[in-house]
């Protein structure tokens, strides 16, 4: 007796990028593992989307600083991905009989894991990247893919024309059949921007991956090689329009903005959504304690925090301590940060486990802010110490401890 094991669709999640535009925030972790939204990491959104869409087999391709990401994902239990067959698998580059190499590009990363995909015998493969914030039902996209009898379906977002040149742009007819694909065009002809979410018929994709690997001139990239090649060969490619909230959090500015979006009731990203929960690995910490001197205005705070200062428009991650007299505005404090008495922090992202002394002035302290604009965001690195009385200007990026106030 033998049971054939087969999945209709599996997901391959590209999580190998460094995210160098996030600066010191990705010194210790890969971009998908950067904390987001008060208790999550960026990758939680994509993984939770998969799980909520009924996808229970996910391969996570890692390359840059995978340690923390691996530990975070573990056996996948927080996302209900500890399964008998399927579940979540970390796929780092590995040695082969007489070769072995890093992932050269997005397409090459999938190519190197053909064996993993074949183990699950999928009909369809969903390609995702682990650095976007959005809630999307991939099952509906698959239904669309099947209905259109497509070989490849690309999720697209309708963006303002002036922004389209930052994306891969799909030029499609009225049935949304794609006839042209342009990667970051200077003069975009359409406003349908690729979200980096693709569904392929696996057998078809496999043949293109093999052909692409044989092409020595190829950059082994989906956007630059695989998609144009498929289009050229006349495959059936369709755009699937997604209409919800979507944000690429690749820069300090956009990471800050996406966090602030969570505090803005006007922005359509509601995390308190029981049928579509975003799952994450929970820190085992006691509930938060709010002290006698706390003043909280439009703030989210997580477990294990001890708050005795004033906070406005900010996101506070688990285990943060804010002492009496401290004032935090328009900032993001990642897990385990401590802020001393009478320090003022504005427009700043502070990475995990950093200790800020007393009377520190960080970011745009009490600077007048023009309506509709905000000062540059300061970033303070992970696990460092900022001495009492330090002044840090807006837009600064501090990766090393400051142990003494200047001039002392």
């Amino acid at each position: 007796m033998y049971y054939e094991k087969k999945k209709e669709m599996i997901a391959m999640l590209l999580a190998g990028g460094q995210g160098s535009r996030l600066g010191i925030l990705t010194n210790h972790v890969a971009k998908p593992a950067v904390p987001f939204g008060g208790k999550y990491r960026i990758i939680d959104f994509t993984i939770s989307n998969c799980v909520n869409s009924g996808i229970d087999t996910i391969g996570v391709l890692t390359q840059y600083r995978p340690l923390e990401l691996n530990a975070y994902i573990g056996n996948g239990q927080p996302w209900d991905l500890d399964r008998l067959f399927g579940g979540i698998t970390i796929l780092p580059p590995y040695m082969k009989a007489n070769a072995g190499e890093w992932y050269k590009g997005t397409a090459n990363a999938i190519y190197q894991n053909i064996e993993y995909i074949e183990m699950n015998h999928p009909t369809y493969v969903l390609i995702l990247s682990g650095d976007h914030i959005y809630k999307m039902n991939y099952q509906m996209m698959l239904e669309y893919h099947i209905e259109k009898n497509a070989d490849c379906t690309i999720a697209v977002l309708n963006v303002p024309l002036e922004e389209a040149s930052r994306f891969g742009v799909m030029n499609a007819d009225e049935t949304l059949k794609i006839y042209e694909f342009e990667e970051k065009p200077l003069q975009p002809k359409s406003t349908l921007a690729s979200m980096g979410v693709y569904i392929f018929n696996w057998e078809k994709l496999k043949s293109y991956l093999v052909a692409d690997e044989a092409d020595k001139k190829s950059e082994n990239d989906f956007g630059k090689n695989i998609l144009p090649n498929m289009l050229e060969a006349g495959e059936n490619m369709y755009a699937y329009e997604y209409k919800g909230y979507w944000k690429d959090v690749g820069t300090v500015e956009s990471l800050w903005e996406a966090n602030m979006d969570l505090l803005n009731p006007e922005v359509p990203i509601e995390l308190n959504d029981p049928p579509w929960k975003i799952y994450s690995r929970n820190a085992t910490l006691p509930p938060q304690y709010i002290g006698n001197n706390a003043k909280l205005n439009n703030v989210t705070i997580s477990e294990g925090c001890s708050i005795d200062g004033e906070i406005e428009n900010s996101i506070i991650f688990p285990g943060v301590t804010i002492k009496e007299g401290a004032a935090i505005r328009n900032s993001i404090l990642m897990p385990g940060v401590t802020v001393g008495n009478h320090s003022t922090i504005e427009y700043t992202i502070i990475a995990a486990d950093t200790v800020i002394g007393s009377n520190v002035c960080m970011g745009a302290c009490a600077m007048p802010v023009e309506p509709g604009r905000h000062p540059e965001i300061s970033v303070i690195g992970q696990g460092i110490t900022i001495a009492d009385g330090t002044v840090i200007p807006p837009g600064a990026m501090i990766g090393e401890s400051i142990l003494q106030k200047e001039g002392e």
């Binding site: 208790k39 239990q77 308190n272 799952y279 006691p286 006698n292 706390a294 989210t300």
Partner: protein, 374 residues
């Protein structure tokens, strides 16, 4: 650690009114997002004990619901793990309806499972005491001093009430127990060590003590084992010096919860991680106009009103203009606009509609039953 943990999920002496009407003592919520059982299990797990049996009597539906397979406590194991021992009856042969004749009877009826464990020692606990204790230390001293039974006790601090039905012990200068008596009225005394309901002994000794007692028709662990045998067995006390909470009455439940607002006490109770069921709630949200001071707030809360000296479980909603003082509000309860609450305990899934006022007194808090609409 080579020990089996046995938890009694119920207490024979509690009066928690509405709070235990629908649940057994061990699953009474405590300290915001926890249930009493979380503290008991975390003590075992943090001491390296991963083989735990929970003896249940009645009302244990909410307990099994909370524990599931024991994953969150790291107790889904091949060797050991979590076992819930529910009472059972065989029609015509034994028709007991979940009413054990006493703690010894409960152990006797669970012996089939206890005997199966490979552990050499057992560590028993009740559900009315919450504390952070390292069983490793207790067991080490138990072995070092060649004790037959170790009884964990405390010397009640100044001003602490010893509730009636607590077991008081007397010991010689080497902490050997020579007398045990039940307290019969609430008293404030400091010279009487009080039993915390935790015992360590060899599993083989427990098996024979239980078999013996049953043969003579004796059913009470304190009276028929500790008190009766303290002359023959080497029964030693182990002092627990840190904070503990005792839950047996509604006002006690209120007071003990409120003690968590003291930072020093929180540090003692949460010295090691306390595990609980994960709900994947969003972080707590403090809206524009909220005022919160000296309170414990759990994930998933949304606060638009005022909260003072209170403890909120997960998913509590406090509407605009509402004022919540000195109260405990359990999971997913919603307090609508302009409500006033003082000295109230609101169970899960309660809705308090606009402009209502509920005011109790420190010595007799208002308790609102689960799923009430007011």
């Amino acid at each position: 650690m080579n020990a089996l943990g046995i938890v009694f999920s119920y207490s024979e002496h509690e009066n928690l009114r509405e709070l235990t009407k629908i649940r057994t003592l061990a699953s009474v919520p405590f300290g915001g997002k926890y249930r009493i059982i979380d503290f008991l299990l975390s003590n075992y797990v943090n001491s390296g004990i991963h083989d735990i049996s929970i003896i249940t009597r009645n009302n244990f539906h909410s307990l099994t619901d909370h524990l599931g397979a024991g994953k969150e406590w790291d107790l889904t194991r091949k060797i050991g793990g979590l076992r819930i021992l529910s009472p059972f009856s065989t029609p015509g042969i034994s028709d007991h309806n979940g009413n054990y004749l006493g703690t010894i009877d409960a152990l006797f009826k669970s012996m089939h499972s206890i005997k199966r464990s490979r552990a050499d020692y057992v560590i028993l606990t009740g559900s009315n005491i919450i504390c952070s204790i390292n069983y490793d230390d207790v067991l080490k001293r138990h072995i070092e001093r060649n004790a037959d039974i170790t009884v964990v006790y405390t010397n009640p601090r100044e001003g602490v009430v010893i509730p009636s039905d607590a077991a008081l012990i007397r010991m010689d200068d080497k902490e050997r127990v020579y007398e045990l008596a039940y307290n019969k009225e609430d008293i404030i005394r400091q010279d009487t060590p009080m039993c915390l309901g935790m015992f360590v002994l060899r599993k083989s000794l427990l098996e024979s003590l239980v078999a013996d007692a049953i043969a003579y028709g004796r059913f009470d662990f304190y009276h028929d084992i500790i008190q009766r045998l303290c002359g023959n067995l080497n029964i030693l006390g182990y002092e627990h010096k840190k904070i503990y909470f005792e839950i047996s009455s509604v006002s006690g439940y209120m007071n003990e919860n409120m003690k968590l607002l003291d930072e020093n006490i929180r540090k003692q109770i949460f010295e090691k991680p306390v595990y609980t069921k994960v709900k994947d709630s969003v972080p707590a949200q403090y809206c524009i106009g909220s005022k919160v001071s000296n309170s414990i707030v759990s994930d998933g809360c949304k606060i638009e009103g005022t909260v003072i000296n209170s403890i909120l479980s997960r998913g509590v909603i406090i509407g605009k203009g509402a004022v919540v003082k000195n109260s405990i509000i359990l999971q997913n309860t919603e307090i609508m606009r302009n409500v006033t609450l003082d000295n109230a305990i609101l169970d899960k899934d309660v809705i308090v509609r606009e402009n209502r006022q509920l005011v109790g007194h420190e010595t007799y808090p208002v308790v609102i039953e689960k799923k009430s609409i007011i």
